[in-house]
Structure formats: structure tokens, C-alpha cells
């Protein structure tokens, strides 16, 4: 299940859906949050822009690739867009599998590809009220190396 939304999401609700099947032995979740420091700036909040249409398509492609690679029983991917304040939830990836290794790998794989392939852009607002586009991190590109 893939969702791109302005509304917040609930960890427990998503987790409960993921663990529903009796064959599930492992659930790994990742949640990304707006943190107070980024690239040396004191962050007050951010705006998430995206490319409607392509966003859903690219997320679906990333999840499909993960499903071809690991035995996934259930997968949830949620990404928020719009205005977010400090400590708010940005993204959720939840994976349910029989064995833990698949859940860890698939969850990290989806985040690594999302970070470099899905058309979202962050504009941060610092504590002085100045807005600026966030630079892409070279470490996000190099994170893909472990999957090839």
C-alpha cells in the first residue's frame, strides 16, 4: 500500500495492518522525522514539494523491485507533502516478512531508492525564518552501492 498525503499518519495503525497475517514473524518499520539540525542549519520546519503522478509511479516501481528481491508478506509506504514543522513525521516504510533479514533489507532498500529516485524536494525554513532548498547528499547516492 502506497500513499502520498498531506495528513499525518499513525504508527500503531500502520503496524497493526502489517502484522495481520499469521505467517508474519518480523516487522521492520522506518520513520523519517523533521530534525532540528540539517547541514549545519537550525531547522524550524520544511515544505515538501513533489511531482504528482511521477511520485506514485516511482514509489510503486521501488516497492515492486523490493518485492522481486525479497519475500515480502506486506509492505506500506507513506510519504507526506506540504508544510511540516519540527519533529513531524515525513515518511514511513513498514515491511512484514517471515524472517528478519528480509524485512531489514527490504526496508532499507526502499528508503535508499526513495532518497535518490522519488521526485520529492525539501525546502527548509531555519530559525531566522529564511527558506532554502536542501542540497542532495552524496552519501545518499553511495548508499545505493550496497544493493548492486
Amino acid at each position: 500500500m502506497i500513499r502520498v498525503q498531506t495528513e499525518d499518519f499513525n504508527q500503531q495503525r500502520e503496524y497493526d495492518c502489517l502484522r495481520e497475517q499469521s505467517s508474519v514473524g518480523a516487522v521492520v518499520t522506518f520513520t523519517g522525522l523533521v530534525r532540528d539540525m540539517n547541514q549545519g542549519e537550525q531547522v524550524a520546519g520544511l515544505t515538501l514539494e513533489h511531482y504528482p503522478g511521477m511520485t506514485e509511479k516511482s514509489l510503486a516501481q521501488i516497492v515492486l523491485q523490493a518485492k522481486q528481491r525479497w519475500n515480502i508478506l506486506a509492505c506500506t509506504l507513506i510519504h507526506r507533502v506540504g508544510e511540516l514543522t519540527l519533529s513531524e513525521q515525513i515518511v514511513f516504510v513498514g515491511i512484514a516478512t517471515a524472517h528478519r533479514k528480509d524485512a531489514f533489507a527490504a526496508c532499507e532498500y526502499i528508503m535508499d531508492y526513495l532518497k535518490t529516485q522519488a521526485p520529492f524536494w525539501k525546502k527548509e525554513c531555519n530559525s531566522q525564518g529564511i527558506s532554502y532548498w536542501v542540497d542532495a547528499r552524496e552519501s545518499d547516492n553511495s548508499a545505493l552501492d550496497k544493493w548492486s
Binding site: 520529492f120 532548498w133 542532495a136
Partner: protein, 82 residues
């Protein structure tokens, strides 16, 4: 016609989010990009960045591709979601 979209910094720097170009004079991605760069020095500089990303019909492209009327081309900076 070909629909051309710009996102994030690229859109801000060009001051434009969308335009339509005739498909006859823009029959592949490389030609379309070269035509846009000819507009003025700002367009040339913004669209010459090595980090520029391109999608055709909402799929990322690393190489040149043929374009037809109705296609959607998007230019944007490296993504920073998640």
C-alpha cells in the same frame, strides 16, 4: 505539442513551472534541451548543471530518447525527500 515541467530550484531559477513546445522542432530529448538553453544566459546556466535530472513521461532518463506529441518532459534538481 510537448509539455515541459520544471520543479524546485530549477523552477525558481527559471521563474516558470510549465511550458508547451512544438514536437516538430523537439523530436528528441537532447534537441529539446539544447533549444531551451538557447533562450538566454540564465536558461543556459540553469539547464547546464551536471546534476540536472530529467524524466520523460514520469520515468527518469539517463540518455537521449525520441519525443512525440503528447509527451511530458520534466527537469528537476537531485531529489531530497524521505
Amino acid at each position: 505539442m510537448i509539455k515541459v515541467l520544471f520543479f524546485a530550484q530549477i523552477r525558481d531559477q527559471l521563474g516558470l513551472s510549465e511550458l508547451q513546445l512544438p514536437s516538430a522542432e523537439n523530436n528528441d530529448l537532447t534537441t529539446l534541451l539544447e533549444n531551451l538553453k538557447l533562450r538566454d544566459n540564465n536558461w543556459l546556466s540553469v539547464l547546464s548543471k551536471g546534476s540536472l535530472m530529467v524524466a520523460v513521461n514520469q520515468t527518469m532518463q539517463a540518455d537521449n530518447v525520441v519525443l512525440c506529441s503528447g509527451d511530458e518532459v520534466a527537469f528537476f534538481p537531485p531529489v531530497t525527500g524521505g
